[in-house]
Amino acid sequence: MLFSSRRFADVVVASPVGRIDHGSAGPFEGALLPLLAQLNIDEVALLLDFSGVEYISSVGLRVLMAAAKQARAQESSIAIAGLQPIVAEIFGISRFDRILDVYPSVADALGQLSAPALEAFNAVKDPSAT
């Protein structure tokens, strides 16, 4: 699993890529922890762009649950965007779609989370807009 992140105003967008299964859930959690530690210090929210995630197992979902709990404890938030169809099915079957904020795309999520972040995101997508 690959993992990268980028900041848009007051939201960090993290982008895991690949499978989040029993073998990679640990590294996924390790990559999330420093980003979670920054929440409510420099940023208001962490957005996980799941468009590159092909599969997530129960252990990976458990990492998301722990991350959401930590974010709530810090009075911040975590959201997920861009689920591939298979991953969206897994979210539905596991009922994670009912307990986590899931958006169709990064732009949709940023539109709900932070206007400055959406503006920064759109500026990167279309530099002529700035």
Partner: protein, 319 residues
């Protein structure tokens, strides 16, 4: 081992269909039959067989009691939930009171829903019957005696006329019982529970209820994968959705359909049977969990297909 027969499949507490729920089923069946003419009972049977199970049947309401038919003369049961009452009545109806039988009963743990049927187990009252109760809990005998003490029940344990023997099983140690090799494994549950691996003539049945699988400890996961390895049937506690099992119901000691599929796939098991249904779940909810488990198995399959079913009172699985 020839087959598994389910006498009780509900978790925590027995449930019964309400009149309104029966009416809903009748309405759905009658709507489906609108305009049709049935010339015989056989045609009605054919029509009923084509209905979805939540319409034509029910996942039932007795608490845990599962029979393993070994092909031998002795009876083998897992747990003494309320389902042991109809089992006992069927056994007495089959043999009569004058024909002593042997019963081997394996206890997952001592929570009320898994022991509540014993006071209503008719064969225990019949002289000549031999009942062997196996388990890995030190307090097995005390728990079964205590539930019949005053003021919980009108007659105490001494009323039983059958010969009742308690047998302690060391976890991980194989035992030969009723032509099977039986091994228990400690499971994560309040007060501990034990899963059972039954092996005979190249067939393997796993009875693993009241067990929470977090799958975060690789060694623990490896242990359960080995315990489930190549099983023909895994009877699995799938009481909650995964989201509930790891959030509001974390550490309540139960698992989900999602984890059942994952563990069985890792173990190369052939048949996952969802069991210990949440008492607040209606037939449509249990059917939904079954269909979703089947879909999950389909989209995550990485080898031979895993058959998935949901246990109901009266269901039989050929092994």
């Amino acid at each position: 081992m020839k087959r598994i027969r389910f006498w009780g499949t509900r978790g925590s507490l027995p449930v019964a269909l309400t009149a309104a729920q029966v009416r809903e089923k009748l309405l759905a069946a009658l709507r489906g039959a609108s305009g049709r003419v049935f010339a015989s009972d056989a045609e009605i049977d054919t029509y009923l067989a084509g209905l979805r199970f939540p319409v034509s049947g029910t996942y039932g309401g007795h608490t845990s009691c599962v029979e393993i038919e070994t092909g031998g003369s002795a009876y083998v049961l897992c747990d003494l939930g309320s389902g042991v009452r109809p089992f006992g009545q069927a056994a007495v109806a089959r043999h009569g009171a004058g024909s002593p039988q042997t019963y081997h009963i394996f206890m997952s743990h001592l929570h009320w829903d898994h022991i509540m049927g014993l006071p209503f187990f008719t064969p225990a009252y019949i002289p000549g019957n031999r009942i062997h109760i196996y388990g890995s809990h030190a307090g097995l005998e005390a728990a079964l005696r205590r539930q019949q003490d005053q003021p919980s029940f009108p007659v105490d344990f001494s009323i039983f006329r059958a010969s009742i023997e308690f047998v302690h099983l060391e976890p991980g140690k194989p035992y030969d019982v009723a032509g099977m090799t039986v091994t228990t494994k400690l499971q994560r549950h309040g007060g501990d529970s034990y899963g059972y691996r039954f092996e005979s003539n190249g067939r393997t049945i796993i009875y693993s209820t009241d067990s929470e699988h977090k799958l975060t400890d690789p060694e623990e996961t490896k242990g359960f994968v080995a315990f489930f390895r190549d099983a023909d049937v895994v009877v699995f506690d799938a009481m909650y959705s995964l989201a509930d099992a790891i959030s509001i119901k974390a550490d309540w000691g139960h698992s989900s359909n999602v984890v059942g599929v994952e563990l069985c796939q890792m173990a190369g098991a052939r048949h996952l049977c969802l069991f210990h249904h949440e008492p607040s779940s209606g037939d449509e909810a249990i059917e939904g969990a079954l269909q979703e488990a089947r879909r999950l198995e389909e989209i995550t399959r990485n080898g031979a297909p895993l058959r998935v079913s949901a246990a109901y009172d009266g269901m039989e699985i050929e092994v």
